[in-house]
Structure formats: structure tokens, C-alpha cells
Amino acid sequence: MIVSRQKPIEDILSSLDGCRSVFLIGCTKCATVCKSGGEEEVWQMQEELLAAGIEVTGSLVIDEACHMLRVSRDLRSKQQMVDDADSILVMACGAGIQSVSAATSKKTVAALDSLFLGNIRRFGQFEQKCSLCGECILTQTAGICPVTACAKGLLNGPCGGMDNGRCETDQESPCAWAEIFERLQKTPQSCDLESYRPPKNHGKVPKPGKLKLPK
């Protein structure tokens, strides 16, 4: 899921400078799990906006704000409230915010910062395991991604800062390569540390990324 975090309220209020009324949008999926833009957070935001003297014309928590067609349809169902607002404050990831900005000509304000594609360790604890590199090498690295877990994304083994299996950037965290090594010691797999891994092909994911499934 996409891990996101609410911007400080002062920043949100300063982005809304000059707006007297706002329509609020949240998302039932990732932003709900991250407690950054679910039903509850949208309601809290409404309270904070009211306290700051900003009128809330209405709100909507969309089922997958990244779904562009659904966002247009849902916005149309609240057309009047949207029209009455000076701007739309979106409590969803950057993809969700842009489904909204694509569907309306209103000023669209981002309430969240989008952080990473994350796994859920336990409730309220998220970890990045994959950086969407476009050519997955997990089969060759014992199921642990060095592109993501290594602070330098190194493909051929640990850097000179690794010691006692810890990462140079954070003595509390294991070095990704020490983890891969340890896992290979325990369960030999069809991969080995000896083989040279060539540089990544960054052309695999065009920027911006696009994918169209064949009909």
C-alpha cells in the first residue's frame, strides 16, 4: 500500500489561505490504514477547519481515490457542494490527489505527503520493502531486496561501512547484505553471492510510468 502522512495543520491552513470554504476528500484504502485520510481523519480535519473559520461545504471518502473514473463519478454526485467550495482539500496519496485535480477545475490542495510503497508490520507500523524498480531481483537475493533495504541500493554486496552486520547509516538496523548472507547460510537457495550483478536498467520504468494491458 501507499504510505502517507498528514502535513502539519499550519501548512495545510497556509495552503488554504484566502479560501473561505472547502470540500474535503478522503480515501477508504491506504490513507485509511495509515490514519492519514480515512473517515475519522476527514471528520477531525473538518473540526480543525471550522475552528480556523473555514466553512466545509461537504465531504466524501472515496473507495480508492487513485481510481480516476470513480473519483469523477463520485464528485459529480456531490456537484453542488463541490461548486460551493473555494477549493478541494484532498486527504489521499499523490495519485489520489491527482485523480481529483484531473476531475475538476477547482483549486486542489494536498493534505498529505506520500512516502513509500509499504508493508504493514503491525497496526500503525509500516516498512518499505520494495522501491518498484521495474526488474525484480528478489530471486537472486534470497528474497530480500537490497535495492530498497540497503541505504545505498548496492547490488554486489556490503559497503565498507558495514560492521557486525549493522548498517553504517543506522547502528540499530541490520545491513541488508548481512541479512541476505545470513539467510543464505540458513537455507541455501538457487542464488549465490559470488555472481556479478550488472548495473540496473533504469530504462525499464519510463518516467512517468505507463502500462497498458493488451486487449
Binding site: A151, K152, G153, L154, L155, N156, G157, P158, C159, G160, G161, M162, D163, N164, G165, E168, T169, W177, A178, F181, L193, E194, Y196, R197, P198, P199, K200, H202
Partner: protein
């Protein structure tokens, strides 16, 4: 551009013991002191390393610094890291160095941005050190990373870094074997403190064919040693050394003595010594003469 090997390469390949040291390029465009220090050190050593934005602190380009030394007749070792440049920039800097007469290169991953003075910068790491060594070898064979022919191939003496005291040792060995297979001809180690670890390292690595230049750091004080332990990745100065510095009435002299002693102890396990003077430049001559005696 000539293909005569560097003095460092000739001596190491001729089984002669070598000494190198390093000078940090300045933060600023005035290189007078930098050049003066390098010139002062040069008569004692075979080559002088120029570090690349060491510790992720922004300084003048090591390529420019290496070229300045080359112009002064001081043989440089051009250090190049993967942290700040993508594969195009790395190759073009390597070719640029060759065109300016620089032959010795030490190819490194680079300390993480978070240690430095531009913590908000984007880290690059488009290549890692093994891939960079492979790229330098390809350039020497007359082609670039995309397989295109070069107009004039450089000839480098390629070095890589090693950390003999890091654990797990087996894991660091995997990477070293890859570095040597990719074309590393010499290995410069992190500062070492434990002769036994150097012996073990020598046994494991010497058969692979690369020459070993062991790193020796000159410690000025117990405070500096503690600072290094806390802030420099991969360096572990033992408590016995810190206590020795702490109890000394003349820590600078003691620091140089410790370095001389360590250098003599590890000499049997390496082909050369790289001295990191850390501001105590007078220690370089002392270490060289004590080891050579």
C-alpha cells in the same frame, strides 16, 4: 596520454614496498595550501591520494585536485565514489582523469550522504563499487559501458577499498573477490588496528592476486579516537589505544608512535602502507622511516 604504468603500479608489481598518503581537497577554490602540503609529503611517499567529497562533505572535485598534483609532479591516486555521479558522469570523469595524465584510481562506493554537510541531497549510487571497477576495466579495453568504442583507451591502475576488520568477514570476502574479478589490481584497506586481522586478511586475499596497501591512521588524541569510533563508518579503535593516548603527556607524539608501531607490525601482511595523517603531516616521514629502517 601515455600507457607507461604509474610509479605506484611499477613498484607494486615489482614487489617493492610502497607508501601512500592522502590530502583532502579544500573547501573553496584556493588550492595553495593543498598543493603545498602534497608537495611536502611527496618526497616520502610513492603517491598521494585525493579524497572524493570525503564523509559526504562537499569540497573541490577530486579530478581537479588530482590534475593539480599531476601538474606539480606529484603522483596522485584519484579517488572516485558512486555517491554523487551516475554512470555517465563516472565514465566521463575517468576519461577526463586519463586525459590529464592521472593513472591511479581508487574506486569506492562512498560514505552515505547522511554523514555529510548536504544531508538533503539526493544520493545517486547508480553503480556500486564492483560495477564501477568493471566500468573502468572496460574503458581500459577501449569500450564504454554501453559497448561503444572509445577514441583512445585509458590505462588505469585500479584500486578498490577493503575493510579487513569488518564482520562478518566471509561476507566482505565475497565482495572483494568480485572486485578483483572485475579488475581491481590493488586494495587499500580501512585504517587497521589489529595485526592479527591483517594476517587473516592477507592469507585470504593475497592468493587472489591483488596487492594490499594497508591503511594506518595517525591519531592526535583520545578525543579524536572516540570521535572517529562514533562517527566514521567501519573504524573501530581499540580501548587500549585510546587509553594510551589519554595517559600520554604528549598525545601527538604518542599518536605517531602508535602508528609507527602498528605499521611495523602489519608490514609482513601487506605490500604497502597508506598513511592517513589527519593533520599530523610530520608523522608521515616518521612512519615511513621507521618501517623502512
Amino acid at each position: 596520454m601515455t600507457s607507461t604504468p604509474s610509479r605506484l603500479q611499477q613498484k607494486l608489481e615489482g614487489e617493492q614496498f610502497v607508501f601512500t598518503t592522502e590530502v583532502c581537497p579544500p573547501k573553496g577554490a584556493d588550492c595553495d595550501t593543498f598543493v603545498a602540503v602534497a608537495r611536502e609529503l611527496a618526497p616520502h611517499v610513492d603517491a598521494v591520494n585525493v579524497t572524493d567529497n570525503q564523509g559526504a562533505h562537499m569540497r573541490i572535485s577530486p579530478l581537479a585536485a588530482a590534475a593539480l598534483l599531476q601538474r606539480e609532479g606529484v603522483e596522485p591516486v584519484f579517488q572516485l565514489t558512486c555517491r554523487d555521479r551516475n554512470r555517465l558522469a563516472l565514465q566521463s570523469d575517468l576519461l577526463g582523469a586519463a586525459a590529464l595524465g592521472v593513472k591511479n584510481v581508487l574506486l569506492l562506493t562512498g560514505d552515505h550522504i547522511s554523514f555529510g554537510d548536504h544531508k538533503e541531497a539526493k544520493t545517486v549510487f547508480d553503480l556500486d563499487s564492483v560495477q564501477l571497477i568493471d566500468v573502468a576495466s572496460r574503458l581500459c579495453r577501449g569500450e564504454d559501458l554501453s559497448g561503444r568504442k572509445l577514441h583512445g583507451a585509458p590505462s588505469f591502475f585500479i584500486g578498490a577499498a577493503a575493510a579487513p576488520e569488518a564482520e562478518p568477514f566471509e561476507l566482505t570476502l565475497f565482495k572483494l573477490r568480485k572486485k578483483i574479478a572485475a579488475g581491481a589490481q590493488f586494495l587499500q584497506t580501512q585504517a587497521v588496528f589489529d595485526p592479527a586481522a591483517c594476517q587473516k586478511f592477507h592469507q585470504a586475499v593475497a592468493p587472489l592476486g591483488a596487492r594490499i596497501i594497508a591503511g594506518i591512521i595517525i591519531l592526535k588524541s583520545a578525543g579524536m579516537a572516540r570521535f572517529i569510533n562514533a562517527n566514521i563508518p567501519g573504524l573501530n579503535i581499540p580501548d587500549t589505544i585510546i587509553t594510551e593516548l589519554e595517559n600520554s603527556p604528549h598525545p601527538h607524539t604518542t599518536g605517531i608512535d602508535i602508528a609507527c608501531r602498528l605499521a611495523a607490525e602489519i608490514k609482513p601482511y601487506c605490500h604497502g602502507i597508506h598513511i592517513m595523517p589527519m593533520g599530523l603531516e610530520r608523522g608521515v616521514a616518521a612512519i615511513v622511516s621507521s618501517v623502512s629502517a
